[in-house]
């Protein structure tokens, strides 16, 4: 009976949580279509603020910077993280005698790789800024790209790694058995099978880079303001309907990227380890 009482509350709690999470987002989207100049007042329906955005040169500049940073940091972080995941997965099958030591080293390397996910962003941003100024780097797009690469690597690494771990090792062995060298077996079998995970990781990295504020704040330069930073600074003049419109667009893009990323990751049926469903 207790179980039944609990399950009656479940939809209520779920609804409350979802409303709490998504109502503010929904309001921002709603107000972006309001004719009123005052943000937070709903009156009529208009596309004006979106139209106005497209004519705003500074916003366009910030958008270009954001896209460039996201693109470049993916270009570096995706191959880096993918190679790392493959390398660490391959190490597992080495000599048994040193298994314990190798296991320890692998654990350490992996811990260090994924640490940026757990670190407070303020700390990461601060230390990156300190490091860049000590190295005498000019703050601008390249410091942004470097910083974003740092926090994008773990996400891609984790996704690719989990896909690799789910891959049947007999598949590469079968390729070797049929005459493929190690590189060829990787190219023909492993790569096509982990490609969805790589795409998924890339999309997640783009989303992470595109909406980052805190770390970017520490390492950006005068000429390299990303879109979220631009929004943040314009907020000092109060929330305008244009900002609502912009946030709505960003929200849409990020949601799309994350949804696509999930979709690719769920494509797990192919090449997984055989399981109970594998029967006749």
């Amino acid at each position: 009976m207790r179980g039944r009482g609990r399950s009656a509350w479940r939809p209520v709690i779920l609804t409350a949580v979802l409303v709490f999470l998504y109502l503010p987002l929904a309001l921002v989207a709603l107000y972006s279509f309001s004719e009123s100049k005052v943000a937070g007042v709903m009156k009529g329906f208009t596309w004006d603020w979106y139209a106005k955005l497209t004519r705003d040169g500074a916003m366009g500049q910030a958008l270009r910077t954001s896209l460039r940073v996201a693109g470049l940091s993916c270009l570096v972080s995706v191959p880096l993280a993918t190679l790392g995941a493959i390398g660490l997965a391959a190490r597992q099958s080495r000599k048994a005698r040193f298994a314990k030591l190798a296991g320890g080293v692998r654990g350490l390397v992996e811990g260090v790789t994924v640490l940026p996910v757990m670190l407070p962003e303020v700390v990461l941003g601060m230390s990156l800024m300190a490091a860049f100024s000590m190295a005498g780097a000019r703050f601008g797009i390249w410091t942004l790209v470097t910083a974003h690469t740092t926090f994008c690597v773990p996400y891609v690494y984790l996704i690719v790694k989990s896909r690799l771990a789910g891959l049947d090792p007999q598949l590469t062995e079968a390729a070797r058995d049929l005459g493929a060298g190690p590189a060829r077996a990787f190219w023909d079998v492993t790569l096509p099978l982990i490609l969805p995970a790589i795409f998924s990781g890339t999309l997640l990295a783009v989303a992470m880079s595109f909406d980052d504020v805190i770390i970017s704040m520490f390492v950006n330069g005068a000429q390299s303001t990303t879109l979220p930073l631009k929004i943040y600074s314009s907020l000092r003049a109060g929330v305008t309907p244009e900002i609502n419109a912009l946030c709505t667009i960003i929200l849409g893009v990020v949601c799309l990227a994350v949804a696509l990323s999930q979709l690719l990751r769920n494509d797990k049926k192919r090449g997984g380890k055989p399981d109970e469903t594998d029967n006749v």
Binding site: L178, A180, G181, R184, K269, G271
Partner: protein, 368 residues
């Protein structure tokens, strides 16, 4: 179709595959503890043993997927111990088939041929021939996920034999199939092996499979080959208690040799009775007499020669035959199986005997 697919040019005097004292351990105790054996061209050799006996590891050593710590692997007289799998010219049918999930059936079968750089037309022709061989004509464009277990099995075989290897390795290929399909595939595999004239090294833990299909069986236990011989040899002359138990259903009677004729005829003392048997043993040796259950005879009338007094304790129907428990004088218990009732009713006194020539002795203790 056979002769066209046969590999030509080997010297009949050289065995196809020779293994010398293969040793392998994974850090936690030995997996292979000195295995030596040979495979002749066109032979069907089965590695039979319980799980963990090292049979799959031995197969992987032959395939080049594991490197042995010691020992040598020779293929057609050539030392391939250090060669990677892609340079060995040996192909494997994996336990879970390991079909490439992102390639259709044709591309799976063609994969090795493409790597070899063969002409498109030749590849297409060979793929068609392989599909015919495994009776999957018209399935070329299916993806592996659209096939049943038995069909995947056939594709895996087609893919492995498409390269015309002289030696095919099969790792429990029928393990995932249900009994009915397994029986059908046994015949199918045997037919394919005959058609192609390929030598098979076949790993299984199923004694029925081993007996039905093999030219020779290597019974493996704890990283060693316990006995190597034809199914008949192993059945009629098991070398150890383990081999006697693993193949067929058998009574093992602990006994001591009291008389040896020199022609292999033995008289033994076992649990208060004297029994005859055959085999090479000296007076005073502790042995086990191996009496196959279907060779235990029983009747109300005393036959000429050797017989023991017994009581029929129990009879059970065991699907097509009857299985009986006999309590023999002196405290021995024997199991017997037969097509019909033993001629006595449960609880009745009777006589039990067997043909001594069909009751070999094995050492009482198996080596560790």
């Amino acid at each position: 179709m056979g002769s066209g697919l046969l590999r030509e040019g080997w010297d009949a005097a050289i065995p196809l595959l020779e293994l010398f004292d293969i040793r392998k351990d994974f850090g936690e105790g030995d997996v292979l503890r000195g295995v030596s054996l040979t495979v002749e061209p066109g032979e069907f050799l089965t590695l039979l043993g319980p799980s963990g006996c090292g049979k799959t590891t031995l197969l992987r050593v032959i395939a080049g997927l594991e490197t042995p710590e010691a020992g040598r692997v020779l293929l057609e007289g050539r030392d391939i111990t250090a060669l990677p799998p892609e340079k060995r010219g040996v192909n494997t049918v994996f336990q879970n088939y390991a079909l490439f999930p992102h390639m259709n059936v044709q591309r799976n079968i063609a994969y090795g041929l493409r790597l070899r750089g063969e002409k498109r037309a030749a590849i297409r022709e060979q793929v068609e021939r392989m599909l015919r061989l495994v009776r999957l004509e018209g399935y070329g464009r299916r993806m592996p996920s659209q096939l049943s277990g038995g069909q995947r099995q056939r594709v895996a075989i087609a893919r492995a034999v498409a390269l015309k290897p002289a030696l095919l390795l099969l790792d429990e290929p029928l393990g995932a199939l249900d009994l009915q399909l397994r029986r059908a595939m046994q015949l199918e595999l045997k037919r394919i092996q005959k058609d192609l004239g390929v030598a098979f090294v076949y790993v299984t833990h199923d004694q029925e499979e081993a007996i039905n299909m093999s030219d020779r069986i290597a019974v493996m236990r704890a990283g060693r080959v316990e006995q190597l011989g034809t199914p008949e040899e192993i059945y009629e002359r098991p070398a150890t208690r383990f081999a006697a138990r693993f193949i067929g259903q058998t009574n093992l009677i602990p006994a001591e040799v009291v008389e040896a004729s020199g022609h292999g005829e033995l008289t033994l003392r076992a649990a208060g009775v004297t029994v005859p048997a055959c085999g090479g043993a000296a007076v005073g040796d502790k042995v086990s007499v191996c009496v196959r259950m279907e060779r235990v005879r029983c009747g109300a009338a005393r036959p000429d020669g050797f017989a023991l007094r017994a009581r029929l304790a129990e009879t059970r129907y065991a699907g097509g035959f009857l299985r009986s428990t006999l309590e023999v004088e002196g405290g021995l218990t024997l199991e017997a199986i037969g097509q019909d009732a033993l001629g006595s009713r449960v609880g009745e006194e009777c006589f039990v005997w067997w043909d001594p020539a069909l009751a070999p002795v094995v050492p009482a203790e198996d080596a560790a």
